[in-house]
Amino acid sequence: MAEGKRPLPQPTPETQHFWDGARAGELRLQVCNDCRHTYFPPRPFCPKCSSRNVAVTRASGKAKLHSYVIHHRQAPGFDPPYAIAVVELAEGPRMMTNIVGCPQTPEALQLDMPLEVTFEKQNDEISLALFKPAT
């Protein structure tokens, strides 16, 4: 069994909307109203054109497995071996996550496999966006 607890994020004023979304079961990205760039991680301006004219948008939750490692050593809150993955969202941005509902093996974890988001509650404030094989 996993020992300890996984490190949890501390939301900041600029990222609070993302964590509020995760708690509500929504994956939230931001989109630039000037150049239409969709981006992550959160910040109150567009990293492509520097505009402050940006809006929060709800992502579809669909993604593909972009790359990963399978960690074989102990880490707080994890039961090795476990995969640390980067997924590419249907909307374009990538994010780090864990893949659940699937064996943590190279055979089961094929690059570009379709995934969908699932939220795992950590406490009353924080839920994490994890991904599982798409049904």
Binding site: H72, I84, V86, M95, M96
Partner: protein
């Protein structure tokens, strides 16, 4: 920077490398600095510029007894020292100081009085990577490689070959930590750390330090050692989050830094006699060879497999044994610079006969930063 205007006149590592429980982090800086000062025939009072990472420049200047008119605390990980060389060259040319000392010291293994690096839960890493079980470089630096392998059809055997060839170089270096030859089978049967990386594809964890002293090429003629000229420099940074690296098959920081250094120097790839590419993990020389332009995308593994970078090959690479076999205290860039300087002085353990141009390429963070220095023992 302007090529050929600045030279290395002092260079040294700590007296010992490896496991040094008797020295704290700050004294590893000082031990290397004193050795470099002796190499250059200087005392602390002769130095008026200080640059360091891991410790602050004020800490090192005070500890050594230096009164600087220029200080640089650029700290972007293991390539910080490449950036220090570049910044120091500009500072000397601008007249901000005359003689710069750059120090590194790290008690990576023994952990005596080290600078803590706590994960800060409100940082971007703390919010968007730490919750998913990352545990330092072996689980972050390594994440892009499966995408690289799939894109170019690279095998685990080919990645393992990087470690095998570097061990061959280490076998020629009495100061290397690991000298016993290894095979691809040895690498692929070694303990799994973070699939697809096994322990023999990961760098060492050791104690040590190094220091460089730079001054103008004009003044360099008056020092005891033959000057090693700086003929090209580059630097760049990308993202503190490995998940946000723009392209998992190529480092933007590598490409920008390398191109800048080559453009400054006006040398061509065929002119390069000796190459150092910071190898915290076995995939880094592959990215480096491609992003610096020595190989086309996807061809570096075949290049290493052809023994082009091995002893006797046309492009000797990581001739000290690298971070995989020589030593790696955490911020390895200083040791890559030291080996380039030794090769240019003609005193390396595995000396490349007649080498005139050495390219030294560093990485910082997890593909987060890069610095490239091109050295020559002649003005070019």
């Amino acid at each position: 920077m302007k090529p050929n205007t600045i030279a290395v006149v002092g260079a040294a590592e700590t007296t010992d490398l490896g496991v040094i429980p008797g020295l704290s982090q700050i004294q590893l800086h000082a031990d290397a600095a004193l050795n470099a000062m002796q190499d250059a025939g200087l005392k602390a009072t002769d130095i008026d510029g200080i640059a360091t990472a891991g410790e602050t420049p004020n800490t090192i200047a005070h500890y050594l007894g230096i009164t600087p008119t220029w200080a640089d605390g650029t700290s972007v990980g293991g390539c910080s020292f490449m950036l220090h060389v570049r910044h120091a060259a500009a500072a000397i040319n601008e007249g901000l100081c005359n003689t710069v000392l750059i120090t590194h010291g790290e008690s990576g293994k023994s952990r005596v009085a080290v600078t803590p690096r706590p994960p800060f839960p409100g940082s971007l890493t703390g919010q968007f990577e730490a919750p998913f079980g990352v545990a330092g470089p072996p689980t972050q630096f390594t994440i892009p490689v499966l995408r690289y392998m799939k894109t170019y059809g690279i095998t685990e055997e080919q990645i393992a070959m990087v470690s095998v060839v570097q061990r061959e170089w280490a076998g020629r270096n009495p100061r290397a930590t690991f000298k016993t030859p290894i095979t691809v089978a040895d690498v692929l049967s070694s303990r799994m750390i973070a699939y697809p990386f096994r322990i023999l594809m990961c760098c060492l964890v050791t104690d040590g330090g190094g220091a460089l002293i730079l001054t103008s090429a004009e003044r360099a003629q008056d020092f005891p050692r033959k000057p090693v000229y700086i003929v090209g420099t580059g630097e760049s940074v990308e993202s503190p989050l490995i998940s946000q690296m723009a392209d998992f098959t190529s480092s933007r920081a590598f490409r920008v830094s390398g191109k800048k250094a080559f453009d400054e120097s006006c040398i061509k790839h065929g002119d390069v006699d000796h190459l150092m590419i910071y190898d915290a993990f076995a995939h880094l020389p592959l990215y480096g060879l491609e992003d610096l332009g020595f190989c086309k995308p996807g061809e570096a593994a075949g290049f290493i497999g052809s023994r082009a970078t091995a002893p006797g090959g046309k492009l000797p690479l990581n001739t000290n044994g690298g971070g995989l076999s020589y030593m790696h205290s955490g911020m390895y860039g200083m040791y890559a610079l030291q080996e380039s300087v030794r090769q240019m002085r003609g005193i390396a353990a595995a000396q490349v006969e007649g080498a005139k141009i050495s390219v030294c390429h560093g990485v910082g963070g997890m593909f987060a930063a890069s610095g490239t220095i091109i050295f020559s023992n002649e003005k070019i």
